[in-house]
């Protein structure tokens, strides 16, 4: 079978996920097994991945890079507080819309494999930085200290939201997203904060 690099990478991710779904432990999945299932040589697969952990890490990065690209485009166009609020909310919408069917397993790996945990922490800082900037511009007038504390809280609840949303059905995700956004908005409307 002829595989373009992009297709082969997608199939490798799918292969790793399918093995996990078959009740295999991640430690029991190796590149040789995946290469065999994909009908390619181990050397070919090694051109793209160094280990099973690397497959999950690169898939995690790919999803987030795509999300950040879309989000950045929205942020770049924003001019008014209303635009910044929209860019803030757009992120949550886009995040939920683009969750894959295997988002639950991808989350488990991102919280378990050391390289994925490191990336997750780095990315969390990146997300938090953007939240901070958007909250500052979308809900102007907050003191810096309040802004920092509220940003921290929003980041915390967003990561709790991720953990919850990946484990529910698609139709329920939209309802939860709506409630979640309302909760976040209520919190951010509190200008002086306690």
């Amino acid at each position: 079978m002829v595989n373009s690099p992009a297709k082969l990478k997608d199939r490798a991710v799918k292969g790793a996920v399918n093995n996990l779904r078959k009740d295999k432990r991640v430690e029991a999945i190796n590149l040789a097994l995946i290469a065999n299932e994909l009908d390619v040589t181990l050397e070919v697969l090694k051109n793209y991945y160094s280990s099973t952990e690397d497959i999950f890490l690169k898939a995690q990065k790919k999803d987030w890079d795509s999300l950040h690209r879309y989000w950045d485009k929205r942020i770049e166009k924003a001019k008014t507080p209303g635009d910044y609020k929209e860019a803030f909310e757009f992120f949550f919408e886009r995040f939920v819309e683009t969750l894959s069917d295997d988002a639950d397993l991808m989350l488990e790996m991102s919280c378990y494999l050391p390289a994925c945990i490191k990336y997750r922490e780095r990315n969390k800082k990146k997300v938090k930085k953007k939240f901070f900037s958007l909250i500052k511009k979308g809900w102007p007038g907050k003191e810096d200290k309040v802004l920092k504390r509220q940003t921290e809280l929003i980041t915390i609840v967003f990561y709790g939201f991720i953990d919850h949303v990946v484990h529910i059905k698609k139709a329920e995700r939209i309802k939860l997203l709506s409630d979640f956004r309302n909760m976040v908005n209520l919190q951010l409307q509190d200008r002086k904060f306690f």
């Binding site: 919280c111 378990y112 921290e152 809280l153 915390i156 709790g160 409630d179 309302n182 909760m183 919190q187």
Partner: protein
Amino acid sequence: MDKKTENKVKIINKTFESVKRDNKSIENVSLEEVAKELSMPLEELTSFFLTVEDIYLNEQLRNNRRIERYLESGLSKIKTANDAKALFENSIRVYVESLEDYADAVLAATFYIPKCLEERNRMKAYLKKTFKTIIKKGWPGKIETVLDRQTDLCVLSFYGLYEYCARANKKERKDIAEDFINMLNLHLQDRLFF
């Protein structure tokens, strides 16, 4: 502390010290290695734990049981709405304060090790049921669907807080817990919810 408990604690601490020191994933820690570091016969160690996974599960259960005991005891004493509110707030403080320094390692395991994942799901269902009872008593007058939706948001936020605290130092944990409690209070004061 009796000798048996003391040895059990030593095993737990040494295991997590090893995990954190070398940034290891679970499969790279062995009971043999822990026994060697403790100068303890392997037979003695295995009288407490048969696998490294058992050590992780033990820690997870210990944390969960502590908060469950606190909630059950509090629930049996509730007389007024204020009692319920105080129980809700204090349970969050108790949970955060009782997290060990190696809570991040335990958290990672709860996302993946089958027994830990099962316990995580059980605890989440328990918290949902218990928080709902407490919220109903502490913030009376909410209709059932609102109560369910607000409880879901509280539970998912709680897991976001857990993830944050597992990686934060004690001072940061304490500070964020107070902001977090205020945020949930604001959310729960909204009687009709959107």
